[in-house]
């Protein structure tokens, strides 16, 4: 017992000594809670222009931080056009030119050939909502077409892409040789026999959620539009390799470099009640054949559990997506596990909704339709990935990818029987001063069971994040 007492005293002494020695200075944390964020805009039934109200996040970020993450817009425009080789406004307007900028309702479909510049699923949603029968949410009855705008990425990303253009290489099957990739978008001008794979690698290495605080409010609806799920969560996301925007650059730290880690995200649930306090921590690696390190703090058990990272095909609770649908597409591109055949099956221009002011919203009082939508003509690729393993949940995945932004906007997932199973639509929010994008509104639909999940989310640069925030200690602290 005396030994134990001495041990206790010694341990506490060391503890508090370490505490005193530890540097007190730490980055200022400007993480907003739901209540404060939703003061700017409620997740549903609110037409408030979020990005305008929050001034592109300027209102909530310290001035010195905001300065670090914003850049000269003209410089970004010029530089990105040089990288991709065009500006979107210059290459669209050729299909159905009679559809000009202006306001339209779904009734105008009888007068104008919207089916020529909308993929079928979007065209079908451009309709009054059905009043009975199995149906989904988020139809829309009116749209405003605006002149096509030029899009770009943040200046450091552009510079890194430029610097490392033509250094990323692929093997004889088209798979990226991971050590050849350094930073930026690996293939800003996809071409050649592996063009489809290059398009997908741009998404794989994208700077979406690359060091951001992420917030989402999720609503699930049955086929008769009964709200059967409401979820709220926040997340920390970090890019660990190929870091270009703020310090530390290149690798986050030695551990990331030694372990060849590529990114990490840490996701904490606030609702529903069953999931409150659950924290998921996923670390991904550069090697696509190395499974993610998947840890979960299960609040109801008060324990951190190791989960199997190969368990990626079951749907998230109450939602219409699986782990490999996260952010639209979160599957590893590898010949060793559920390999695909990659084909570009189309190129063209499509009407795509994007928001700059953050005013779109779902109106539950008008039949759960989307309102305040602004569309613009965008140059797109259509990439089809055909699954080679019949044991995978999807037999085929089709992506509509913006040629200038290099991000997907619409994804169709078909099951092994060829039926349209799930779709994923992203209404991107653009922050021009930063050159970054939010998945402002995402719609995940199950077409077999007729169920809808609508996500309302924001994300903004979180410069205070460090390794401690996204490791085991960060998981415990989040709870």
């Amino acid at each position: 017992m005396n030994i134990v007492k001495r041990f206790l005293a010694g341990f506490l002494l060391i503890f508090f000594s370490l505490l005193l020695m530890t540097s007190v200075g730490s980055a200022q944390k400007y993480e907003l809670g739901f209540e404060k964020l939703e003061d700017y805009k409620k997740p549903i039934d609110d037409p408030a222009p979020f990005y305008k109200n929050i001034e592109g996040f300027k209102k909530i970020m310290p001035a010195d931080v905001y300065k670090k993450v914003t850049y000269d817009v003209d410089a970004m425009k010029k530089a990105w056009a040089e990288v991709v080789g065009f500006k979107a406004p210059d290459v669209v307007g050729k299909i159905a030119p009679e559809i000009k900028p202006g306001k339209y309702t779904y009734k105008d479909k009888e007068k104008f050939p919207f089916d020529k510049i909308m993929w079928k699923h979007l065209y079908d949603r451009f309709n009054a909502p059905a009043s009975s029968g199995p149906r989904h949410v988020c139809n829309f009855t009116e749209i405003e077409i605006v002149p096509t705008r030029q899009y770009y990425h943040s200046l450091p990303v552009i510079e890194a892409t430029k610097k490392h253009m033509d250094t990323a290489t692929q093997d004889t099957q088209g798979y990226l040789l991971q050590e050849s990739y350094k930073a930026g978008f690996p293939f800003p001008r996809p071409s050649g026999p592996f063009k489809a794979m290059q398009i997908m690698y741009n998404w794989d290495k994208s700077y979406n959620l690359d060091g951001e605080f992420y917030w989402e409010h999720v609503y699930g609806y049955t086929k008769d539009l009964r709200n059967d799920y409401e979820g709220m969560a926040t997340a920390y996301t970090m890019r660990l390799q190929g870091r270009v925007k703020w310090e530390p650059l290149n690798w986050l730290d030695k551990r990331a470099q030694d372990q060849r880690e590529s990114k990490v995200f840490q996701y904490m649930s606030f609702a529903p009640r069953d999931l409150f306090g659950n924290v998921i921590n996923v670390t991904s690696y550069m090697d696509p054949n190395k499974f993610d390190l998947f840890l979960m703090y299960i609040n109801s058990l008060r324990r951190i559990r190791r989960l199997s990272a190969s368990d990626t095909q079951d749907p998230a609770v109450g939602q219409d997506m699986i782990y490999e649908d996260w952010q639209g597409f979160n599957q590893k591109l590898t010949p060793k596990r559920f390999p695909y055949r990659y084909d570009v099956i189309g190129e063209g221009e499509f009407l795509v909704p994007i928001t700059w002011d953050g005013s779109p919203y779902m109106s539950t009082k008008e039949g759960y339709i989307l309102k305040n939508l602004q569309f613009e003509r965008r140059p797109m690729w259509v990439v089809q990935m055909t699954q080679m393993d019949r044991n995978y949940i999807y037999g085929k995945r089709v992506f509509y990818v913006d040629k200038e932004i290099l991000y997907h906007v619409h994804i169709e997932n078909h099951d092994q029987k060829g039926r349209l199973y799930r779709t994923y639509d992203t209404l991107w929010g653009f922050i021009p001063e930063m050159g970054t994008y939010n998945q402002f509104h995402t719609l995940a639909l199950d077409h077999v069971d007729t169920h809808s999940t609508a996500y309302h989310s924001y994300s903004y640069p979180a410069l205070w994040l460090n390794r401690g925030d996204v490791s085991m200690s960060g998981m415990i602290k989040m709870k």
Partner: protein
């Protein structure tokens, strides 16, 4: 006391109904410009006997009508400091409902009302209340809290810090109603160590100052104490059963007494994608070890049950013995077991083990060899399990099956010291007879349908030593994110052991004690937050 319980019951009902019509309570609030999350749930369950005939140790028809009200608040005082509290109220309405039921009275279940009608001890109502401070790489949590160790479910191997409330037996109870939070000081430190093989590291120290000694709330003996879950311990040769016991001189450590202090230390890390912990614990068993207070008169009271059998009431004395162990846990997914035919998901192996020094056992129930004494044996415990998700398309086109088998092994003694072999029977703190080698296995299977809204599951626990089994079949349906419905059945089977073996009297044991308590249960849950 009855008036107090009635008031609490009415209050609980009113709060429950009020919260159900005011779902707007479910959101984040700002208090002094800082976020406060309020959430909770209310459940109403009912258990119905599946017994084919009237028996003394069970009640036909309604056996329980348990209401649980759980409210929690999470308040972030600052970026580094937060406060969490939860309050719980449990009311079993079967007592007022069966107040005038003659069968309920005849079988003495009514007399367990004082233990099981309303949970009104302060530590039952105030579930958790703690401050958490997270400066830099540290975490400090002070207050009434749960510290949960271990990897396995259903078996309590490493998870020994908090006591358990098992008074309501195998009924469908939530985690919050089973683990009892106690007053602890918890501290953790996460050094930023990075190597090629070590991905994360944390050091945890937990100190229990014994502010208020709260032991395990075990199932009690006798219908008059244990209620519907009282075990049916029979002495067939003398046509008698074991009833409630008088516990004399079971010494509890006093508040803040050094005798009640407990120390728990853990190093945890991620080593080559494996979660590994090294654990050490020095403290007390959460249940007492007992022997007869007067070995010349071990059963000072004998009563007659309504079925004519004698009920012999033991007189026990005991103590909360020292409990100390060192051990480890590990959890990793086993990539090479991934099978394409089964859906290409690798199973996760979970393992925990410890070596305990000088654990205390009793021979009180060993007849005729009882010295009515305590004896210490070293003990080794090991539990491991797999979590495996497999695709069985004919049964579920859309989702995987989750299959989790577990094995639990206890070896008593036989290391450097004595072992429990020989004519004497040794019993642990739960009065379970222990051999040198003791095995228990479990199997859990579940899957989801209808967009993960319908979850059927099957759980089987097998006691190798006594050849007895417990089954739980259940289906939950999430109608909305507020409402959940659960329907299930609990089934028990056990081998009837011979009354005598090698000139030694043997009582029945394990799940055979609950053989007549098969039940079907139903529960409605309303959640907010």
């Amino acid at each position: 006391m009855n008036k107090k319980r009635l008031l609490i019951s009415v209050f609980a009902t009113a709060i429950t109904l009020g919260l159900m019509v005011c779902p707007t309570m479910a959101k984040e609030y700002l208090i002094f410009d800082r976020p406060l999350n309020l959430l909770g749930y209310a459940t109403q369950g009912a258990g119905f006997s599946l017994s084919d005939r009237d028996r003394f140790d069970t009640e036909k028809g309604l056996q329980s009508a348990l209401t649980n009200l759980f409210v929690e608040a999470d308040y972030k005082i600052s970026d580094r400091l937060k406060f969490y509290t939860s309050e719980r109220l449990s009311v079993d309405w079967v007592y007022p409902l069966k107040h005038n039921d003659s069968s309920w009275h005849d079988k003495e279940f009514n007399r367990s009302r004082k233990n099981l009608n309303v949970d009104d001890e302060y530590w039952q109502i105030l579930n958790e209340a703690h401050f958490t401070w997270v400066p830099e790489n540290f975490l400090f949590r002070v207050g009434k809290q749960v510290v949960s160790w271990g990897e396995t479910d259903g078996f309590r191997l490493m998870d020994q810090i908090n006591p358990l409330d098992t008074r309501r037996g195998f009924a469908d109870v939530e985690f919050e109603n089973t683990i009892i939070p106690i007053w602890l000081i918890r501290s953790e430190y996460y050094p930023r160590i990075t190597t090629t093989w070590l991905q994360d590291l944390g050091v945890e120290f937990v100190f229990n100052p014994n502010a208020d000694f709260i032991p395990n709330q075990d199932i009690q003996l006798g219908n008059d104490q244990g209620g519907i879950w009282a075990p049916n311990i029979r002495f067939d040769d003398v046509d008698a059963r074991l009833g409630s016991g008088a516990f004399q001189n079971v010494k509890e450590p006093g508040s803040f007494s050094r005798k009640g202090h407990e120390y728990a230390f853990r190093v945890k890390g991620v080593v080559k994608d494996t979660i590994v912990t090294l654990n050490a614990f020095y403290g007390k068993e959460n249940s007492p070890i007992v022997k007869f207070a007067d070995p010349l008169n071990p059963f000072p009271e004998v009563t007659i049950a309504s079925d004519g059998k004698a009920i012999i009431h033991p007189g026990f004395e005991g103590k909360f013995p020292r409990f100390r162990f060192v051990g480890m846990t590990a959890s990793k997914d086993i990539g090479f077991l991934k099978s394409q035919a089964l859906g290409s998901v690798a199973p996760v192996l979970r393992l925990e083990t410890f070596y305990a020094f000088n654990n205390t056992f009793t021979d009180a129930l060993s007849v005729p060899f009882s010295q009515n004494t305590f004896k210490e044996f070293d003990e080794f415990r090991l539990a491991f399990g797999f979590d495996w998700k497999v695709r069985i398309r004919p049964l579920n086109q859309r989702a995987f099956f989750f299959i989790s088998p577990q094995v639990f092994y206890r070896r008593i003694g036989g290391f450097s010291g004595p072992d429990p072999s020989g004519p004497v029977d040794w019993f642990d703190t739960t009065l379970t007879r222990m051999g040198k080698h003791n095995w228990t296995t479990s199997l859990f299977i579940s899957t989801v349908y209808l967009n993960a809204k319908l979850t059927p599951s099957f759980f089987w626990l097998h006691d190798q030593e006594f050849g007895s089994d417990f089954f739980r079949l259940q289906a939950t349906y999430d109608w909305s994110y507020n409402w959940r419905f659960t329907l299930g059945a609990l089934l028990f089977s056990g081998k009837k052991l011979p009354g005598e073996e090698n000139s030694t009297f043997k009582s029945n044991n394990s799940f055979d004690l609950f053989k007549h308590k098969d039940q079907i249960f139903f529960k409605i849950t309303y959640k907010w937050g």
